[in-house]
Amino acid sequence: MSIETYIIYGLAILLLVVSSIKDKNKTKKGLKKALKSFMKLMPVLIPLFLFVGILLTLITPSFISSILGENSGFLGYVIGMSIGSITFMSPFVAYPLGLELLENGAAYPQVAGLLVTLMSVGLVYFAMESKFFNKKAAIYRNVISFIGAILVVIVVWVVYV
């Protein structure tokens, strides 16, 4: 468990105690709501995470570093950003991978494109957002993040290359 997990558990327990001292009934109502929305979310989340697990088996950090290397050129950008847009990765896996890629000779802009799309564009987010909002909202946010990634690539290219 990471530190942020402990913090969020601590905060939840603290507020729960304060809340039940102030008003038991309200707290009960809140917990009921929490459970209800948790139960509503699980049938959506579990298949998504099943899918993510399979993706992470196929698209591993070593697979990515085998295609994004020195001299991968323009195709390297396309592949990097496509991979980043499809899959999703914990930052604790993605950033060390980025560092490794740089050490293996991948260009800074390529790595930037991969990392930004890994964080903010994704099939999984898309599915979730079209469910909660609508398709247009999902497309909008993912396209905007992709445009952001292209801008990052350009700025990094200007600064580093």
Partner: protein, 184 residues
């Protein structure tokens, strides 16, 4: 009728179906690949289940304690820059995968936050969480991280401000209706 029903069922469970098909294909190629995949999925689901309960407790408490008027005043139609700042802080000082941000976004909508602020909150949560930014600086260096985060922040602010032109009143009202339906 039957065809429509079937299609709906498939669309509703598409990630489950795709996963099953992928697992089958992987089993044909190499059964160990499927075992590995199931193990990975199990790990993903478990770590999600670890982080999700306290977040839902917080969401539930937020729902009963914070009055709608407060959120309307802080993040509603008239909130302007302050609403954006608040959305930024909520997104940046958060924990957990982006998928968990969606229920919170729905609650904000239900309580009267405007869509501009909600979408900005989602964008910040996905890319600019403070603990992750610190981690990014220690692994990738400050200059590289600064370029990525400042560029994304500018893009997120501009694209959030454009939301009112791109989404009609009816569309935004339908989001709120869905939000009410979700956290009844």
């Amino acid at each position: 009728m039957g065809g429509v029903c079937m299609k709906k069922l498939i669309m509703k469970n598409k990630f489950l179906l795709i996963s099953i098909i992928m697992l089958l294909v992987m089993s044909i190629i190499d059964i160990h690949l499927s075992f590995q995949a199931l193990e990975n999925s199990g790990k993903q689901i478990l770590s999600m289940l670890m982080i999700v309960p306290p977040i839902f407790v917080l969401i539930g408490l937020f729902d009963v304690w914070v009055p709608r008027e407060t959120i309307i005043a802080l993040m509603g139609e008239g909130s302007k820059t302050r609403g954006m700042f608040l959305a930024f802080f909520l997104g940046a000082f958060s924990a957990g995968p982006t998928l968990v941000a969606f229920p919170l976004a729905m609650l904000m909508l239900k309580k009267g936050a405007k869509y501009t602020n909600v979408i900005f909150f989602l964008m910040v949560w996905s890319s600019l969480k403070i603990p992750i930014v610190f981690y990014q600086i220690t692994t990738l260096g400050i200059q590289f991280s600064l370029i990525i985060n400042v560029t994304m922040l500018i893009v997120f602010v501009l694209s959030s401000l454009m939301v009112d032109r791109l989404f009609s009143k009816e569309e935004k009202a339908s989001f709120v209706a869905q939000a009410n339906e979700y956290s009844k």
